[in-house]
Structures are given as C-alpha cells and as structure tokens.
Symmetry: C2
Subunit: 250 residues, 2 copies
Amino acid sequence: MSTFGTLFRVTTYGESHCASVGAIIDGCPPGLPLVAQDVQTQLSRRRPGQSNLTTPRDEKDLVHLQSGIEHGVTLGTPIGLLVRNEDQRPKDYSETDLYPRPSHADWTYLEKYGVKASSGGGRSSARETIGRVAAGAIAEKYLKLAYGIEIVAFVSSVGKVSLPSAVSPPSQVPEGEDDVVEDALSPEFVELLRTVTREKVDAQPTRCPHAETSERMVKTASSSLLNADARIALSSGASWSSLAVGSSSS
Amino acid sequence: MSTFGTLFRVTTYGESHCASVGAIIDGCPPGLPLVAQDVQTQLSRRRPGQSNLTTPRDEKDLVHLQSGIEHGVTLGTPIGLLVRNEDQRPKDYSETDLYPRPSHADWTYLEKYGVKASSGGGRSSARETIGRVAAGAIAEKYLKLAYGIEIVAFVSSVGKVSLPSAVSPPSQVPEGEDDVVEDALSPEFVELLRTVTREKVDAQPTRCPHAETSERMVKTASSSLLNADARIALSSGASWSSLAVGSSSS
C-alpha cells in the first residue's frame, strides 16, 4: 500500500503523467508554524532539471497546500497537498514504452495488475517521491522546532566512484574487516561529519560535499550519459549517507 | 486518524473552508471501468441545497480525479480525488463561532488540539464525508460489477417520527420484546425491502421511501426550522436503514 508511519502517517498518490501527485499527512502536531515555502524548498531541491546529470524535463513542482493549515499554523487535522503534473505528454516515452525499462518497476506493475500507465514510469516514476519529500519537509520542520534536530544527507558514492577510504563512512568497510571499524572512522571522516552542511552538499551537482570525489563522479556520470544510462547510474547506483545533528541553540 | 480499511483503504483530508476536501483510495482493484461521473452521481446525492430541509449553501461539489485511472480504467494504484471548496467565506459563521455549536465537534477539536479552524465546522464539517462518499461510490461500482451486489439505504426515522410499526425494521422493536422479532418482520416491511429502489428513496426530500411517513417527517422538520435547529434534527436525529440486494442478472 501507499501509507507509511503510525503517529505521523503519510499516504501518497500519483503517477508520472496523471493530473497531479500528492499526499495526505495525518498526525502532524497542531500549532506548528507551516507555510508552503517550507515544503517548496525541499521540493525544489528534489526537482529534476537542476543539472545536466539528471532527467532534462523542467518540472516546476509547485506545491499547493489544501488543508490542515490556517493562518500559517497547523490545525492537527490531515494536511492535504498536491503538485500538478505540468509535463503531461502521454507520448513522451512512446518508443521506450515498447519494452520495460531497466532498473524501473513498470514491468512489475504490469505483471501485478495486468494494466499499467501508458506513459513513463507510471506509479513507479520518481515523481512518486514528491509526496514523501513534502511530508519529510514537514517532519523536518517539526523536529527542528520541537527538538533542535537538523538533518543533512549527502551522496557518498556513485557507481564505482566513492569517497577516498580516508573519509568513507564505517558501513563501507569491506566484509571481513570488522576489526578495523575503529580505524575506518578516520579523523577526516569525523571532520566531514562535523562540518558538513546542506549548503555544502547542495553546492555540488552530485550532492557529494567532497569536492575532489564530486568531480570524479561528474566525469563518470557524464561518460555514462554517452551510454544512455546515466539516469540509472544516478538513480540506482548512488549511495547516500545521512546524519542527524542535535543542536541546543535552535 | 483519517484512514479507514485494510485491503480497500480510504484516507480523507479537508476542512469546511480550506482549498479542497478529498481522499486517497488505495487498494482499488485494477481494470475497473471508472469515470468521474460514477463518483459525481453520489456526490450530487450527498450535496446540500437539494431541498429546503438542509443547509441552504449551494455547493457544486465537482469531483476532480487526480490519479490511479487512465482511459477510464483503474490502474490498481492509489486513486487521488478532490472537490474544491467553492464556498470559502471565512466569515460565514462568525457570529456562531463565538460559542461551540450543539451537536458539532468543533469544541472537541479545540480542546484536543488547542487550535481549530476559524470558520464553520472545520474538520468536523459534514464536508468531510465527501471523501468517504466518493470512496463508497467506487467500492459500490466494484461490488456491482464483480459480485452483482446493489446497495439501497433509506431514512426510517427523523426525531420522533418513524415508519409505522407495521413497516418498521426488526432493530426498532422496543427492548424486552425480543420474542416478537418474527412478528416485527411484517409482510409490509418485507414488501418494502423487496420493492425499494434508490430512485424511490431519492424521490422523497427526506429519503424515506414511505410516502405517508415522509410527509410527516417534512412537517416535523419544517416546524423545527422555525426553532432554528432543523439541521440538528436532520443531521443527528435521522436513522438510516440499509440493505444489500444480491442480483445475479447484473
């Protein structure tokens, strides 16, 4: 199903080329200051067309808050929101629709339901993430205001290109080397965690804040583009590292 | 929370005076023929302003299907739908907003959340039922096509006015008279169940298909209108009877 969470419950809807994609966020605490821009900032970060490494469709992804908020404050009731699909060209992918696309789930949908959206990824489009990104933006604002928690995530590898071992997170230590986990948490990586900010992450087109690694990722992705599978490299092969930083000052 | 059901799961959102009210229906089987008119028919039956017995606001309640359907067939993916609140006048109820309204839940919302929508019933408005009526219309169509099931519901009492004992359903037999249940299922009531149709129900402004009883209900409700609590009589005091009729021919 398309519902996630218990106390903070998110339900999403939408395919790549239907009227809109959106979500209902149920259980958001009342009294939280919330305006469309809080959500829009994250949707704009998610949006394709920001660099030449991602899908070139320029989708504006403007959020329309429908309910659960009045005078800039949440009511405690379900928050309905939607983003219109402005790029509804049913024939966009007509040629590739002749066969299932690698690394996509459209074949799975066809097998499961016996019918699928005629264009693009349908329900398995990355546009499905819009509802969850929007819900995440609301959860993030609540966590920041209520507990001073900030969240920063970054790309640590794309395909075979990853951060140098000196700054790799512990989870990327090769199997069988559990006894060197302490060593893997190198001073360089600790320093990266200590100093990384969302601004530094967003300054790189790859969202990898380590400039030298980011450059190598760009070169690899760009050469993959020549092989017409760069989107696969970026959507399926990228590893994300994330961390939450508690701050008592906010 | 605002989610109902397990396999056929309905999540609703919306207050009386926000941008829209709507729902996400998750788990609707794929391949079901479905167009907006299937839902619209039931929303129009729900709509206020159909008689002088209900709230006089004339809301058009046009449904906008957002997802989960293509070329008139369900995809098996979540069906998003919404109805815009065209009658968004925040000051409509300003005078009555000074105190909680009887038979409404706005006081409960204020106590629970410490904040409530400034106008009308907010989340406790009867407009919240729009999402569930729409979901019910989809479920009803599936039940009819897949199993030949038809559903007819009717009003059997309003306040102290009810169907004559001869045609009362068994559940309305007074306490302590369990031994006369067989007698209560009178030939007249069996005949009513056998012949009642949605058209006969809708032909009466009270939705009570028993013409003589319906007339008495109208008189009672109209005199209650003079006491300015007719809406309470109709929204809180009405009892509904419903039945499902299996039909092998559809």
